[in-house]
Amino acid sequence: MHILSKNGRRVAVVAIAALGVSSLAACSSPSGSNGSAESDGTYSIAVLLASSQNGYNQAVAEGVQKAADSLDGKFDITVLDGGFNADTQLSQMETAGVGEKYDGIVVVPFDGPALAAAFPLANGIPVTTALNPIGPDIEEMEPQVEGVVATVAVPAGEAAAKQAEGVVEYCADIDPCKVALLVGQLNAPLDVTREAAYRKVLEPEANIEIVATVEGNYDPDLSSTAISNVLQANPDINVVLSNADQQTEGAQIALEDAGIDPSTVYLTGGGGTSKSIQNVRDGVWKADYINFPVSMGKAAMEQLYNALTGGDVTSFVNADEVGEVDPYATKETLDETPDYTGEWVG
């Protein structure tokens, strides 16, 4: 049985070629100034985002710009869009790593291990990375490849373990305490690490029963579907442990649709969006693991500046320590900073 007719196959080939051309276009470096610190005193900085169409990444870029505005020097910032594609970002890194167009790079890696293939860069310019390390070990925060001078991040497993410790505390007087794990993508190394960390903390607890592990794919609609399904078999669930705020929003919808008051369940997420912080303040969610993407961007830019100007570079900046509040937020911790609304919308 031919799935496509001869004509259809021809069209498919042309379409694939068109996709290839568009990918190549995305990979190519944009035209722009060719300034460098040596020639006219302006530092030309490339900001390689995993996706420029993503709120978190945009917040990191905002932080880079804020740091550039406050530092002593002139900066020409160029933002490149990785399109949530490891190959595209690798090509962008390799392109930025040749010639004299850029003096330094701040990157939010889409795939840290894959991006390591670009190093060492041919032109030897310094690179700082935010959110994820670059190299084969996703839990190692010290630079793993030549050319990366600083990492602004938190080991994913460490943060996940702390989230799970909050669950253990909540479940202390509940037996059995039924927990659903709502994880981003179980084919992504970072999320696999998070799930393993959750289990490492929760499984030794005799009163805690992990009743389901489902994927939320960082999407409220898909998360709502997954938790709705889980609730069919486990309507008396006590905890939904999620690594992302978008997913927790979906879990909240599923609980409400099932006629369950979300504030009676331990709901927690990760990200620290304005909406999730408000949910914790209102008691709808019990906790949230707050990220500080703007502050992370600032820190990455500051370390890059240090590297460019011969200053002291801190090779690992703990991203949990760059914000204004305790990242492991509960209503009580947020009550101490009533004006804090988070660093990004979502």
Partner: protein, 326 residues
């Protein structure tokens, strides 16, 4: 005596060839029946009113898109832009809701926008003479970019009272989205099987030249199927954006391929000219049941895609075997 002679005649008709023919035509129903049976035996949570309504509600947007997509594929075309239209409509609805404060306006707009974008696809295919595969691939990039431009890449939360009613409200325990789905299926089934337009859709997909020579306005039919596909993506977006009360440019990612997979899995011919609305609905719910079963039974979600892939392959292979034997 009549009974005695009739019985052996019936038995003799059930031959391997006729069984294969049956499988070719109804593979999706056979697999759907098997999965329903397995899930009903495996867990008492499955065959409950709440779970069935839950499955219908979750998959209403995809089913609506697949039902309209059936028209596109029967007419011999592809629509790869439905997810992008869904995204544009979602963010437009959220933006309008926040800007105007009108829930009704915000949720009525997506079907209109969707229909216009679908008609744009139709004109690209008929006026510019670009193959639908390429035309909708290109337009999906354009529509996606529009969604990003509207939002700047961020999501738009809609805090208005009543905005979530369409996606999450119920009547008699049944979600509005499910009622909309059933009405849409009924209307589209009637249009495809009970109207001249429906017959022309089959004619265009079966043999475009013959249809043209028979006086069918092929271009008009094609523009109409794409407009309907866009309309469906818009209706689905109204439900989806209402359900999560926020619009985001990434909304609906993968919906276009999921819809096409469900249509083909149901047994509608990818080469056009043959198909049915019920087949696509069955295809959607076959895939949905696999996901539902995994979540209810607490199976390893990493195996979900593997099982889904094997079942799709099995359904298509069953259909192919039937064709070869015939």
């Amino acid at each position: 005596m009549t009974t005695a002679t009739a019985t052996p005649t019936r038995i003799s008709r059930i031959t391997p060839a006729s069984a294969l023919l049956f499988l070719r035509d109804y593979a999706v129903l056979v697999l759907l029946g098997i999965i329903l049976l397995v899930l009903a035996i495996a867990t008492p949570s499955f065959f409950t009113f709440a779970n069935i309504v839950n499955i219908l509600n979750q998959n209403a947007p995809l089913a609506i898109i697949a039902v309209a997509g059936t028209f596109v594929i029967i007419s011999g075309s592809f629509d790869l832009s439905t997810a992008a239209i869904y995204a544009v409509c979602s963010v437009a609805a959220a933006w309008v809701a926040v800007a105007s404060g009108s829930v009704v306006l915000a949720l009525l707009m997506p079907p209109v926008i969707g229909m216009l974008l679908g008609a744009f696809n139709g004109f690209s295919v008929t006026v510019l003479r670009v193959h639908s595969f390429l035309a909708t691939l290109a337009s999906s990039l354009i529509f996606k970019a529009i969604a990003v431009l509207i939002t700047g890449g961020a999501l738009i939360s809609v805090p208005l009272d009543g905005f979530s009613e369409l996606g999450r409200g119920r009547i008699g325990g049944v979600f509005y989205s499910v009622i909309i789905l059933f009405i849409f299926i009924a209307v589209m089934w009637f249009v495809l099987n009970g109207t001249v337009y429906g017959r022309h859709v089959f004619a265009v997909g079966g043999n475009q030249d013959a249809a043209q020579l028979s006086g069918v306005s092929v271009d008009r039919i094609k523009v109409a199927v794409f407009a309907v596909s866009g309309l469906a993506a818009g209706i689905a977006a109204s439900i989806g954006v209402s359900r999560i009360a926020s619009g985001q440019p990434q909304a609906g990612e993968g919906l276009e391929l999921a819809a096409i997979a469900a249509i083909i899995l149901g047994g509608t011919s990818i080469n056009g000219g043959m198909g049915a609305v019920w087949r696509s609905v069955a295809g959607v719910f076959l895939i949905a049941l696999i996901g539902n079963g995994f979540d209810i039974l607490g199976f390893n979600p990493q195996l979900k895609n593997l099982v889904t892939g094997v079942i799709i392959l099995a359904a298509v292979a069953l259909a192919a075997v039937g064709v070869k034997r015939r």
